[in-house]
Amino acid sequence: MSLQDWKQHRRPFAAIASAPLFWLVLFFLVPMGIVWLYSFGQNSGPADIAITGTLDNYKRATEWLYLSIFGKSLAVAALVTLICLIIGFPVAMAITFAAEKWRPWLLLAIMLPFWTNLLIRTYALMMLMGSNGYANRGLGALWDGASWLKTLVGLQPLEAWAPVPLLYNNFAVVLGLVYVHLPFMVLPLYSALDRLDKSLIEASLDLGAGHFRTLTKIVVPLAGPGIAAGVMITLIPALGAYLTPDLMGGTDSQMIANVIERQFKRANDWPFGAALSFLLIYAMFILVAIQSLRGDRKKEAR
């Protein structure tokens, strides 16, 4: 029996579907519903929330201060996605064209970071980028070397090395997010490029196009769905990123998830935090809707 026959076999279908349905309702829809209700309430005591149906939380959430943080989060996420695409596309191409026996290993290398805890990876990255980290030490050594070379030819030595502030700023947040999200971009791109008939590339070359033109006219358009999938799958988690800006960002680089976290913890204003959360969820819904509408239009155009 296949699941397509569910109309003929309602009872077994219900038996199979009930467990996941129960799971989804209990652990996903119910908590979401509670948070959604909170967003229409107000604090009535240190641990009590009265659902009053007020829209004050949403009013406050759409104030300029919070909207600007929203906007900034979106900008950071978009930048991260763009950088991931620029780095990820050649990587995915390289894996696609690598020899058969190397491909599984290269894919493994892309997925390896997932096997390590995000927190540990982030701390490792921070150790690398701290003012006394390896990156700064390496740069310092180069600087000293350059200084020594200058004295060698009789010039004044360079001034003492001042470590570059690599951490606790927006740069660190973007770099950290790119580091975390790159695999999300590479995998869908790889799967799209791998499905591409290689003789299309050869046909383009055969008809006189150079490699660059073949890339822009053939490879990129045909990898379009993969690119769209990679962009969505990178943009959405980057938009809700919490850990990376928290650990690697400075005072001015908080993203919307950090603001939400503060409402639930330090500020103890759950209704407002709930309203902010739902604004973020709505924004993501809109992104996904745009994406799927575009997909539908393409299918119709065929």
Binding site: L200, E202, A203, S204, D206, L207, G208, A209, G210, L222
Partner: protein, 375 residues
């Protein structure tokens, strides 16, 4: 440049992939305007050779000249050849007109001229009016025509076709064989086709190079290839054939005889020029063997046969038959145990009822039918 000048010269080309030698020191000339076919089983190196002409593979050794120019270091997009791919490689995100106009656009041909040439090319492959179609709205045969038009519109010196008909069904394939020959006549471009299908090769080619294990086994016209195969590989690969081992017992300018333990005494009405007593092979095509009821043979042979009494004659029992419509194929066990295949045209509707399983039959063949193979 005259017709007979080689448009493609392949000189001592070898291609190795790691330890595997795909093409082994091949030299051959392809003449301008010819329909040249590279024929061979899969893995014989024919596609690799074609891809080296196109520039997708580089020879490990040797030289390829197109129109007198050495192609070493010249990338595929700069070569005066175009290719029709086995999968057609029609760009799925472009319309038919965009596909056909792609190369012209890259070459910087203006809009008006481009449209005109695209229209002409589509007309040439009988796809006029299909300009705005998308490839996924077309059948395999139509997509192949798009691929053909896309290459022909570039007016290449040589058109390379990689297994052009392998993805089509039998009827369409037969039709396309004629159309391709026709098209080649019309445009006058040199065609170089790779195929593993001998019917395709025989029906379209002006010359065929049969390849085996990276080497050219024979280079000849279709009829020469079929009637005068140079070796056992070619005899067996091109068409169906019965091969028997034997010893050369008589070899004079106008006649020869071979003793085959499997088949009997074989008489030929021409010389072989092999050493007396040499080990040779006799190749005999199934359609060149006459089948008859024992006893009738003598009368038929007396009526105009040229071989001595006990030569070119065999007897056996039908062990298998397959009715193919136009012909019937018989598997016959000879009295000495060897098997032989004989085909017989069904000249009338009831012909195939003449002979059936376990019938005793006798066979004979003309003295110019067997081919003596030395290798």
């Amino acid at each position: 440049m005259s017709e007979a000048d080689p448009i493609i010269q392949i000189r001592g080309v070898t291609k190795r992939f790691g330890k595997h030698t795909a093409v082994d020191n091949v030299s051959l000339d392809i003449k301008s305007g010819e329909f040249f076919v590279l024929l061979g089983p899969s893995g014989c190196g024919k596609t690799t050779l074609l891809r080296m002409i196109a520039g997708f593979e580089l020879p490990t050794e040797g030289q390829i000249l197109i129109d007198g120019q050495d192609m070493a270091g010249i990338p595929p997009n700069k070569r005066p050849v175009n290719m029709v791919f086995q999968s057609y490689a029609v760009f799925p995100h472009m319309s038919v007109a965009e596909n056909v106009g792609y190369g012209l656009k890259i070459a910087g041909v203006g809009r008006a001229e481009r449209d005109e040439r695209v229209r002409e090319a589509l007309q040439l492959v009988s796809l006029g009016g299909f300009e705005d179609r998308k490839p996924d709205q077309m059948s395999g045969g139509q997509r192949q025509r798009v691929a053909l038009a896309r290459s022909l519109v570039m007016r290449p010196k040589v058109l390379l076709l990689d297994e052009p008909l392998s993805a089509l069904d039998a009827k369409l394939r037969a039709q396309m064989q004629f159309e391709l020959s026709d098209l080649q006549d019309k445009v006058g471009i040199t065609f170089v086709t790779v195929t593993h299908d001998q019917d395709e090769a025989l029906s379209m080619a002006s010359r065929i190079a049969v390849m085996n294990k990276g080497d050219i086994a024979q280079l000849a016209s279709p009829s020469d290839l079929y009637e005068y195969p140079a070796n056992r590989f070619v005899a067996d690969f091109v068409g169906s054939v019965n091969v028997f081992e034997g010893k050369l017992t008589l070899d004079e300018p106008d006649r020869a005889a071979v003793e085959c333990p499997g088949l009997g005494k074989v008489y030929l009405n021409h010389g072989v020029t092999g050493p007396h007593g040499a080990d040779v092979w006799i190749a005999l095509r199934p359609e060149k063997i006459y089948l008859h009821v024992p006893g009738e043979g003598k009368a038929i042979r007396a009526a105009g046969q040229d071989a001595p009494e006990d030569h070119n004659l065999a007897r056996g029992v039908i062990k298998g038959m397959s009715y193919l419509g136009d012909i019937t194929l018989y598997e016959i066990k000879l009295d000495n145990g060897a098997m032989i295949r004989v085909s017989r045209p069904n000249l009338s509707r009831h012909d195939q009822e003449h002979f059936t399983w376990d019938d005793r039959v006798s066979m004979h063949w003309r003295a110019d039918s067997p081919v003596v193979l030395l290798g």
